[in-house]
């Protein structure tokens, strides 16, 4: 972001607020483009993964090769559909709820380091920002559920509120564990630390436990199966977005897949080394002595590595979705409060002890 502002000020001669707004537009535009393309790909991937796990084929016709254009066709269809607003709904809230939901996740993207220095905002409280901004999504969902004036929507929204508020505790606790070891809230620090020392997941068994707790609670945060109670097709029609259609509905869809990406990217960054490759020091690659690669090439490699790790976790999320049945409401609460919260704290305390005595598989 700062680099971009500098470029606009020096190269194009823009000043102050103009350079700032130009840089903002470029960042937001590229991020929106990325999320849209990613979401289309992820939806196609989800359908193919689901199909092959059920020994089916999935979309095969749209586009020549394995139905690759199915998501594009669906998006075009959703864009041209009529925007139906229930007459008894609270119109203002109904209008802005999809935007609020999407904004919460969209803001999460700006702190993710895609490669060394390639993040929109290099916040030194990046993880804290991520946890806080992700909660905005819940407000949007509750708005959607309430404004729809439908019992199914309201039930979905209430479930979402209960579930997300409960699972923010284990999420935050589990996120504190790597923070404790690395000693920073800044996301790029985790990448640099892991480039020097090795993946954090192999730091100690308690780090693995924290990773597991984070992954499970991030599933609940993303409303992914087996925690998809807010949608719960078999009980609540479609949950909080029952009354939505067309473009507004597609925003909820986009938000779900975007939040999957954020959760997986955080998982990859904090526990699995982010854009770094194990046992490889990428910072030497720009030297003429080793590979002599340009900065752009190294950055692209970093992006590819992070995307590979992220897509692995997205695949695991899809894999779980087609393996596990949906939990009951009381089971969700039991899992959250009786299992994940205590074990998150155990992982936190034990890691603190390990760090104090310098134990662990690679001492820092």
């Amino acid at each position: 972001m700062e680099t971009l502002i500098g470029v606009f000020e020096q190269q194009l001669g823009l000043e102050g607020v103009w350079a700032l707004s130009a840089a903002y537009s470029v960042c937001i535009g590229s991020l929106l483009g990325f999320i849209t393309v990613y979401a289309m790909f992820a939806i196609w991937m989800e359908r193919k993964v689901a199909a092959h796990m059920q020994v089916r084929m999935g979309p095969m016709e749209t586009g020549a090769w394995h139905g690759w254009a199915q998501s594009i066709a669906d998006a075009v269809k959703l864009l041209f559909k009529e925007d139906i607003i229930p007459s008894q709904s609270n119109k203002v809230m109904f209008w802005i709820a999809p935007a609020v939901v999407f904004c919460g996740v969209f803001a999460g993207f700006i702190v993710i380091p895609f490669a060394l220095g390639l993040q929109i905002a290099d916040l030194n409280l990046g993880i804290f920002f991520l946890i806080s901004i992700a909660s905005i999504e819940v407000i949007g969902v509750i708005m959607a559920g309430w404004a729809s004036n439908s019992k199914y929507s309201l039930f979905g929204a209430i479930r979402e509120a209960a579930q997300v508020v409960s699972y923010e505790i284990p999420t935050a606790t589990a996120l504190l564990v790597p923070i404790l070891v690395v000693g920073s809230f800044r996301l790029d620090d985790f990448n640099l630390w892991q480039e020097a020392n090795g993946w954090l997941i192999f730091h100690s068994p308690w780090m693995m436990l924290a990773g597991l707790v984070f992954f499970i609670s991030s599933l609940a945060g993303c409303k992914r199966a087996p925690f998809d109670l807010p949608e719960a097709e078999s009980e609540l029609v479609s949950g909080f977005h029952t009354e939505y259609s067309g473009m507004r509905f597609s925003f909820f869809f986009l938000e779900e897949y975007a939040s999957m990406f954020v959760a997986s990217a955080v998982m990859a960054t904090l526990w699995f080394g982010g854009w770094t490759i194990p046992f490889v020091d990428m910072s030497t690659w720009t030297d003429p002595d080793s590979f002599g690669l340009s900065d752009v090439a190294v950055t692209s490699i970093g992006i590819v590595v992070l995307l590979a790790k992220t897509f692995f976790f997205i695949f695991v999320q899809m894999w779980l979705r087609w393996t596990l049945p949906r939990l009951r409401v009381d089971q969700v609460m039991t899992l959250g409060y009786k299992y994940l919260v205590p074990w998150g704290f155990v992982a936190l305390v034990m890691t603190a002890i390990f760090k104090y005595y310098g134990w662990g598989w690679f001492p820092n």
């Binding site: 092959h52 796990m53 084929m57 095969m60 894999w319 779980l320």
Partner: protein
């Protein structure tokens, strides 16, 4: 102690059953090819004795109506005019709106001329298309005409006409001379013995 054992037992069973389930789905994902087919382009194998749409071997059929009589829903309608043994076909229709694909029409056939195929596509946007005509020709073919004229000529004691002479079909043929008929039968019997 029971509650503690339950607690850790729950954790253990949750982890093991999840791992087990994930291994099953992964096995499906990686090792099992899809069992579905791209329907309009390919089809599943259908057993040979599947009861699908009917097919009629019209040159074998003797217009005995046994299939129509066997039909429990009366969906078969047959009309033909007999010229001796030669048949002038009017219609042989099966109304698939009524047909229950019970296969009762197949066994009674004395000449084994009606069969069921493995074809099952009936969908149409026109109700009239649901009634299917099994005939491959209607009326008289040139060879039928020839056969009729040959038998008539035989009855009349003339030589069989050439095919060229029978280009113009003649209507009717019911005006058989009874005496000539009896003579023909007698001649045949005599020939046999």
């Amino acid at each position: 102690m029971g509650a503690v054992r339950d607690y850790f037992g729950n954790i253990a069973s949750a982890l093991t059953t999840t791992a087990k389930g994930m291994s099953v789905t992964l096995h499906h994902f990686r090792n099992e090819p899809p069992i579905t087919v791209q329907y309009p382009f390919e089809r599943m194998n259908i057993p040979d004795r599947y009861r699908g749409l009917h097919i009629l071997e019209q040159d074998k059929c003797i217009d005995c109506h046994l299939c129509a009589k066997a039909c429990p829903v009366d969906c078969i309608e047959i009309e033909a005019i007999h010229h001796g043994r030669t048949l002038e076909w009017k219609k042989f229709t099966i109304d698939y709106k009524k047909c229950i694909f019970c296969e009762f029409c197949i066994p009674p056939c004395p000449v084994d001329c009606i069969h069921m195929t493995t074809e099952y596509e009936l969908a149409t946007d026109n109700v009239d298309d649901m009634t299917e005509d099994l005939l491959s020709w209607t009326g008289l073919r040139p060879e039928d005409q020839f056969a009729i004229e040959a038998s008539e000529a035989k009855k009349a004691g003339k030589a069989a006409p050439t095919k060229a002479a029978t280009a113009a079909p003649e209507g009717g043929g019911d005006d058989d001379d009874k005496a000539a008929k009896i003579a023909a039968i007698k001649a045949r019997m005599a020939k046999k013995s």
